[in-house]
């Protein structure tokens, strides 16, 4: 049982207690915390230019400074939209496990996690709807796999962790970026503060779920997990490149542009940079080989 592995681990239980206490001490009212001006200046950067999808490519030279700023606006709305839907999906998974067999010990922290993630989803959605008039979607497909419940749980929490680490890379940079409006810096700052707890929790839980799985998994199952997680890293990063974003920014042939940007060396470098710590963790634990 997962719970046996978790309950035997004093270190994990100690971390859970500390994180839950910190969640209580840092508790804030998100509905009162932020200033929401009616509009934000269109001639400013909405996202750090180094984090936009054209950075380091020929397109950063071809487009005018205003086109790049307009694109940064739509890319930022897509980034927060990814947060809205990413959180929605992870909440479904965590709510599906809280207070069920195997997850007794982390359930106390799950309450903080669910509450905080719901609040994050609110302020990200508020930003998208207020300043972008929309929340971008990603096409959602279906899966034919019939893996065990243990593997599914491991993959759920590994996906949550990868998604949170990607977002945190952006949040920590944008919280400090003085080229951005204070409202933008504020939501990135507060999200970074909460996510550092969630990432610490996620790393410990994924590690324990993996250790538990190692007792019974076949070599093929472990190889499949590794392959899947490598593809998931790429898939997550690719979601920053959205054809509707390029269309909304007034750029022609959005699919062609997206493919060119995805194929550029700058994209590969940016993905490596974004997931440097995540990849090191996944390799150290043996989750990816």
């Amino acid at each position: 049982m997962v719970s046996d592995v978790i309950d035997r681990d004093d270190r994990f239980r100690g971390i859970l207690d500390r994180l839950a206490t910190k969640s209580i001490d840092d508790y804030y009212n998100p509905y009162r915390l932020f200033e929401w001006p009616d509009r934000l200046p269109e001639d400013m950067w909405w996202m750090s230019p180094e984090l936009t999808t054209t950075y380091g490519t020929e397109w950063a030279e071809k487009l005018t400074p205003q086109q790049l700023r307009t694109l940064s606006k739509h890319e930022s709305i897509n980034f927060y939209s990814l947060n809205v839907h990413g959180i929605r999906e992870l909440l479904i998974e965590v709510v599906g496990r809280i207070h069920t067999a195997g997850f007794e010990t982390p359930s106390e922290f799950f309450h903080h996690f669910i509450g905080e993630e719901n609040e994050h989803m609110w302020f990200f959605a508020e930003f998208c709807l207020r300043y972008g008039g929309k929340i971008y979607r990603q096409p959602a497909g279906a899966e034919a796999t019939a893996s065990s419940a243990k593997i599914q749980s491991l993959l759920v929490f590994a996906r949550i962790l990868i998604f949170e680490e990607l977002v945190d890379h952006f949040n920590s940079a944008m919280a400090e970026d003085e080229r951005l409006h204070e409202t933008i810096r504020g939501i990135n700052r507060i999200h970074h503060q909460d996510e550092s707890r969630h990432i610490a929790f996620g790393r410990e839980l994924v590690d324990l779920l993996h250790q538990d799985l190692l007792q019974t998994a076949t070599e093929q199952e472990l190889a499949d997990i590794s392959g899947y997680l490598r593809r998931y890293l790429k898939h997550s990063f690719d979601s920053l490149y959205h054809p509707q974003v390029y269309r909304d920014a007034g750029l022609e042939r959005p699919h062609e542009l997206r493919r060119a940007l995805l194929d550029s060396p700058a994209r590969a470098e940016a993905e490596l940079r974004t997931f440097r710590k995540t990849t090191r963790y996944l390799e150290r634990t043996g989750l990816i080989r």
Partner: protein, 77 residues
């Protein structure tokens, strides 16, 4: 006879699976794992580009994406 658009979709799927040289119109793409949930996004974008349309991601009916034949009927007819 298939349209040039559906050929682009077939070529994209075959390009991801070098072990295959052919793909019949009635092969279930999801059950056969030729397109899993991670690849599905790219399948949708490939169809959008080949058909010159915008697909409403809120109204996706997975059955439209089950085989090359259903894709052709839904997006290239």
């Amino acid at each position: 006879m298939s349209s040039a658009g559906i050929d682009k979709v077939r070529d994209w799927i075959l390009g991801r699976h070098p072990d295959r040289t052919e793909l019949a119109a009635d092969v279930d793409l999801i059950e056969s794992r030729l397109v899993d949930s991670l690849a599905f996004v790219e399948l949708v974008y490939t169809i959008e580009d080949a058909a010159g349309i915008e697909i409403d991601f809120d109204a996706i009916d997975i059955e439209d994406f089950q085989t090359l034949a259903t894709i052709e009927k839904a997006f290239f007819a």
